[in-house]
């Protein structure tokens, strides 16, 4: 309901001021009206869950761009405008106005039709493809290659180094992994749309496909954790608390059965003095995670396995697999991520484009000496003292304006090329 009221009030203001901009006979008034319209649109951006857009709408559009407009209007002293009358005077290359007006009308009708026809569909958007990666915890000395239905997920993976996520179509996959000594293992898994999976090879030819929850973390300054137990004993994650205080251990994730994945929990950022313990012996540290830093907006899956080292013996290992969780919709963070991943090319082009416009502004306004310059009288009129401009705005005649009026009329500009 609040959104509806905001929409009606702010939307109405936006339209009203846009109309005012069109009808105003003073360019400064037009510019100020446009600023109001832009601020209204910024408010609507906020209502639409687009805080970043609202921010740059105000700073870049209402701020930088409109200031530039006002500056040029005042610089040229061009604030007084002819009334908006299309039929008056020499109308050149504007014969297409009726055509475009028709176009405008049809757009308006289009808008009406949209309303009558109702709901814009959007509910069943294309599902995001699942993404998958692999990590080698089977051997410290050998490399691992993983394929899913023949698609290469990770190749020659060294121990504990996860591969990059790759996108893959949803569906059932036969996932097979092979160590560099030739031993191979396989299992099948169904990969659902919109989920991230990590293939973990561990133990003696075991293969787990762990789904990771990378959705937005709702709580502020928090991180998400889950524990996967790849051993054959029941494990818990405990917070050891201070080393100097006895009996302040607190169980964070309790009693995960062998081969199971815990539900994910959300923790506030900070530093935790953690350890993974056997559920049967909660006071003995199985694997320490001392001074473990909880970084906000990350989703971490702790993978507990017994890793085979070079000598063939098995040692406890807890590997934290960290990924960035999806940033909140429309947040600056989300926009920033997109800019550096999917939209890298347009971003680069944009940089080049801004360079081009900078060069252009210099080229267009730089005049070398010795070229044809406006006469002295013209120059004086072009750069009127700002005081006069302001005086003209507020309707007071200043002293220098009277002096200005006393000057002889500037000669009309020369016709070129006729």
């Amino acid at each position: 309901m609040t959104e509806l009221i905001v929409f009606i009030v702010v939307g109405g203001l936006a339209v009203a001021f846009a109309t005012l901009m069109l009808l105003s006979e003073n360019a400064v008034h037009s510019a100020l009206s446009l600023i109001v319209t832009m601020v209204c649109i910024a408010v609507l951006f906020l209502a639409l869950n687009a805080p970043f857009l609202a921010m740059i709408q105000i700073t870049v559009y209402a701020g930088a761009i409109m200031v530039l407009f006002l500056f040029v209007i005042m610089l040229l002293g061009a604030e007084r405008l002819l009334p908006a009358s299309p039929g008056e005077g020499k109308v050149r290359y504007r014969w297409f106005a009726p055509l475009a007006l028709t176009l405008a009308m049809s757009l308006l009708i289009a808008a009406g039709v949209t309303i009558i026809q109702g709901q814009v569909s959007g509910a069943d958007a294309l599902g995001l493809n699942p993404i998958i990666r692999a990590v080698n915890l089977a051997s410290t000395t050998q490399t691992l290659s993983v394929t899913a239905n023949g698609v290469n997920v990770g190749e020659a993976l060294a121990s504990r180094k996860p591969s990059r996520f790759i996108e893959i179509a949803p569906g059932n996959y036969d996932i097979s992994a092979a160590l560099s000594d030739g031993s191979s293992f396989a299992r099948s898994a169904a990969l659902a749309a919109g989920t991230a999976y990590t293939v973990v090879a561990f133990g003696d030819g075991e293969l787990a496909v762990i789904p990771e929850d990378l959705s937005t973390i709702a709580a502020e300054r928090s991180a998400r954790f889950a524990l996967f137990n790849g051993t054959d004993e029941t494990l818990s994650l405990v917070d050891r608390g201070s080393e100097f205080v006895a009996d302040d251990d607190r169980i964070v994730i309790a009693e995960i059965a062998p081969g199971a994945l815990s539900a994910s929990i959300t923790l506030a950022e900070g530093v935790g003095n953690w350890a993974v313990v056997l559920a049967s012996a909660p006071d003995t540290v199985w694997f320490p995670l001392r001074d473990y830093e909880i970084v906000r907006d990350r989703s971490t899956t702790l993978i507990a396995v017994r890793e085979r080292d070079a000598l063939g013996s098995r040692r406890p290992l807890v590997l934290p697999l960290e990924s960035e969780a999806r940033p909140a919709f429309g947040s600056p963070r989300a926009i920033g991520y997109s800019l550096f991943t999917d939209f890298l090319l347009p971003f680069q082009l944009l940089a080049v484009l801004l360079l081009a416009s900078m060069v252009g502004v210099i080229v267009l306004t730089h005049r070398e000496t010795g070229k044809r310059m406006p006469t002295a009288a013209n120059r004086r009129r072009v750069s009127r003292p700002l005081a006069n401009v302001i005086a003209a705005q507020v309707g007071i005649e200043s002293a220098s304006a009277r002096a200005d009026a006393a000057l002889p009329e500037p000669e009309p500009p020369q016709a070129v090329g006729k």
């Binding site: 814009v120 294309l126 996520f165 960035e324 999806r326 999917d342 347009p346 082009l349 252009g360 267009l364």
Partner: protein, 505 residues
Amino acid sequence: MPFELPSLSQLNLGVSIPAMSVAVWACILLLIDLWIPKDRKERTAWLAAGGLVFAFVVNLFTFNSGETAFLGMFVADGFTGVLNIVILITAFIAILMSIDYLRRTGTERGEYYVLMLLSISGAMFMAAANDLITVFVALELLSIPLYILAAFRTPDLKSEESGMKYFILGAFASAFLVYGSALIYGATGTTNLNEIFQSVDRVVTQGSTSVFLLLLGAGLVLVGLGFKVAVVPFHMWTPDVYEGAPTPVTAFMSVAAKVGGFGALLRVMMVGLPAFMLQDGATHTAWQQTVWLIAAATLILGNLIAISQTNIKRLLAYSSIAHAGYIMMAVAAAGTQGVGTSAAQAAAVYLLAYMFTNIGAFAVAQALERDDGTGTKLDDFVGLARSQPLLAFMMAVFMLSLTGIPLTAGFIGKWLVFQATLQAELVPLAVIGVLTSVVSAFYYIRVVVNMYLRDTAKEIVLPGESPRLNWAIYLSFAGTLVVGILPALVTGLSSSVNFTALMMP
């Protein structure tokens, strides 16, 4: 999606080197230019041309790799490759034309070449863009330097006016393009052309508002790109801008803006919206009818108004509108199922042929143009054959090629376009095309008649003639004849034209 910076191998930059290198070289050249003395700016020109040659060579290697770069934003298929060739040759000849022109009109500045490079990098990215956002940004990268170049003879009022008109209508057109793209995004939920293609079926089966948004969006995109390539009824800026802009810039923009615009138009219409059929079992896309009408109107109006022109630059402007109409015929043909690839090939060959011929004609006009911009009336060509037989002959060939007489490049282009149109069962459009070609002969032949059959007592001097301009003319002349006499060369080239992502052949 977890945030990971894409690795270099994921970005697959290799295939985008032709376009990338031009943009990067432009930035470097901007710095180098600071150390080039004011009266030695032709060095900047040669450095710029060197960058183009490098990009051309790399383009031959990455040609038709069929790979994508920048995570699917950039497609390097055969279509991109052929258009890159056209764009790079255009820029090379335009730079040859510019060096002496800038000097004699007193506007010699290093930034000119930098802007030209930036503009063609925009055109190349546009031809390869596989996403509506990239299309928009690349279009602006193509256009903004062109606005500046059109006004480059400042403080000459004609040139400034030309830049201003181009700018206003260009910005207006961009607004239509982005609104259209926004509506397509609203209907399909994506800006990637391949994904749009996948969503279109779903949207159509759902019916209702989304179809309407899609139709309106496609229409507005057509309007926006129609402005850029100057088709009726969005052509009115063309003659003014072409007349006022410095001649080498006119020559350049008459080709580069068209190549970029048609490249993007074909890709959006064929890769993004090909399956855009409102009923099951239809063999024509929903937008074909509209494009058909635009093409017909462009052909008729462009050719008829050109008849009454007395200035060669304005005549060539209307002729360029008419030629946009012929390429639009190919776009219309692409709307029939099964004709897409051959229509795209026809359009690419047409652009190649048009490029050589049109730039050549502008180069000849530039040789006659005086330093103050006069000397481009059709009457100034009277008696040219007697005093400058070689130049007159080449101009005659350019005019014949624009008409589409056999043994010239123009004929091959038209022949392929008409073939595609007939294949697409658009017989009335093909008939209009042939008839307007006959009409166009009136005004093209008039230039030839002025040069050969009318005579004047006074000796014609060529104020703009210079060895470098001559080379530009020779190059265009050679291109026109080679394409015309050895069509196998271009048809071989064009047979590689394909869209990697093309779903409907």
